[in-house]
């Protein structure tokens, strides 16, 4: 009799547990695209106004899901460095692809605090003109690269803040490393999208400040807005 009562006791306690919720494919939900952001880099536009030698534009398209983003950037850059004795010009374009993780996906206002990793690649022409004065006389040296290219990796961090309706602003700090370039006898002074090609320090930081407009794939429901 005692055995029967113990058995009944176990059965009763398991019946009291709350029913398990149905399994939802949560991970798949994180990757479903929810919108596209199109942005322009205000920082390089500002630099192009302030620095006479630089002309640069950069645009970015971002496909965002709830937690993950894929960003594709494209830019053009034209630099002219002129002194009394030297002329260096560099003209080219670049693109980069970044995968980012948003750590503010539960904030409810679609603001983003993200970290990511990316790859960048540039194609450019550059030319360097200067004069030498030595035992062989005064000689004007002209050296150039045609269709030279460069690549690098990036670690990124930044924020994107909803300012008004679908208007966002945000910055990206880039740690650029594993730089590589293929060029001829002229060592490029600048790599479009990367920055100065210094021989002494291999890795550099970059900064972008974007203005975005977001195109949502569907209007957020009341529930998804809360989530």
């Amino acid at each position: 009799m005692a055995w029967v009562s113990v058995t009944f006791g176990q059965t009763d306690s398991s019946d009291l547990r709350p029913p398990k919720p149905p399994k939802v494919k949560k991970q798949a939900k994180e990757f479903i695209p929810t919108g596209v952001m199109v942005g322009v880099d205000l920082f390089v536009i500002g630099r192009s106004i302030w620095e006479e030698e630089l002309s640069q534009q950069e645009y970015q398209v971002e496909v965002d899901s709830r937690q993950y983003h894929l960003t594709i950037g494209y830019g053009i850059q034209d630099i002219t460095r002129l002194t009394e004795t030297t002329l260096y010009t560099n003209e080219g374009s670049y693109w980069r692809v970044n995968a980012e993780v948003n750590f503010l996906y539960n904030s409810g206002n679609r603001s983003k605090l993200f970290f990511g990793v990316g790859y960048g690649r540039a194609t450019f022409d550059d030319i360097f003109v200067y004069e030498t004065q030595d035992a062989f006389g005064n000689t004007q040296i002209i050296d150039q690269n045609r269709d030279a290219n460069a690549s690098w990796m990036e670690l990124t961090a930044g924020t994107k803040v909803r300012v008004w309706k679908e208007l966002y602003m945000g910055y990206t700090i880039r740690y650029k490393f594993l730089k590589d370039y293929q060029a001829g006898s002229l060592i490029p002074h600048d790599l479009p999208g990367y920055g100065p090609n210094r021989e002494d320090d291999k890795d550099i930081f970059g900064f972008n400040y974007y203005l975005y407009w977001r195109f949502p794939f569907r209007k957020p429901t009341r529930l998804s807005a809360i989530n």
Partner: protein, 161 residues
């Protein structure tokens, strides 16, 4: 929630201003360079060649003049030397040197690659001469010891006569 959003907006403006400041403060480039257009030559001769007691010795030559093609400059005139530094032609990748010495007339062709870069607008250009190779010569033999022309390197070429 409103305060939270405003804070993020403030947090976004500050890095922008910080970026403007940092973006205009690139670190200064060091203008000093060890690279040079001077090639360091050493003249050697082999004593008792072909015997067991053969010995390589550093020997002097009496140079009436040392010149090069593409210039009227005379680099050495009336000097007795076993080691010397000669400038290569920065506008070309080959330099022909002509030696008028107590041995008679000799020639030595050296080829190399020239890499050029703008260090910075303040520092100006830098030329790097590397991949030094011997061409035709009237000396017995020429051996490249160090293919990069650099102030820290004391010997680039051994010339045997």
């Amino acid at each position: 929630m409103k305060v939270y959003l405003r804070n993020w907006q403030r947090g976004s403006i500050v890095p922008f201003l910080l970026g403007v400041v940092l973006g205009s403060c690139a670190p200064d480039e060091i203008c000093f360079s060890d690279n040079t257009s001077l090639v360091q030559l050493e003249f050697l001769t082999i004593l008792y060649e072909g015997t067991d007691s053969a010995e390589v010795v550093n020997d002097t030559l009496i140079f009436n003049s040392i010149t090069a093609q593409a210039t009227d400059s005379v680099f050495v005139e009336g000097d007795t030397l076993a080691k010397l530094a000669l400038p290569v032609n920065t506008a070309d990748t080959v330099t022909w040197f002509l030696f008028d010495s107590d041995r008679g007339m000799d020639s030595l062709q050296l080829s190399y690659r020239v890499f050029r870069r703008l260090i910075s607008e303040e520092c100006g250009p830098e030329q790097i001469f590397d991949e030094l190779n011997p061409g035709s010569t009237s000396f017995d033999s020429v051996v490249i010891i160090a293919p990069l022309l650099n102030q820290q390197i004391v010997k680039n070429v051994e010339v045997y006569y």
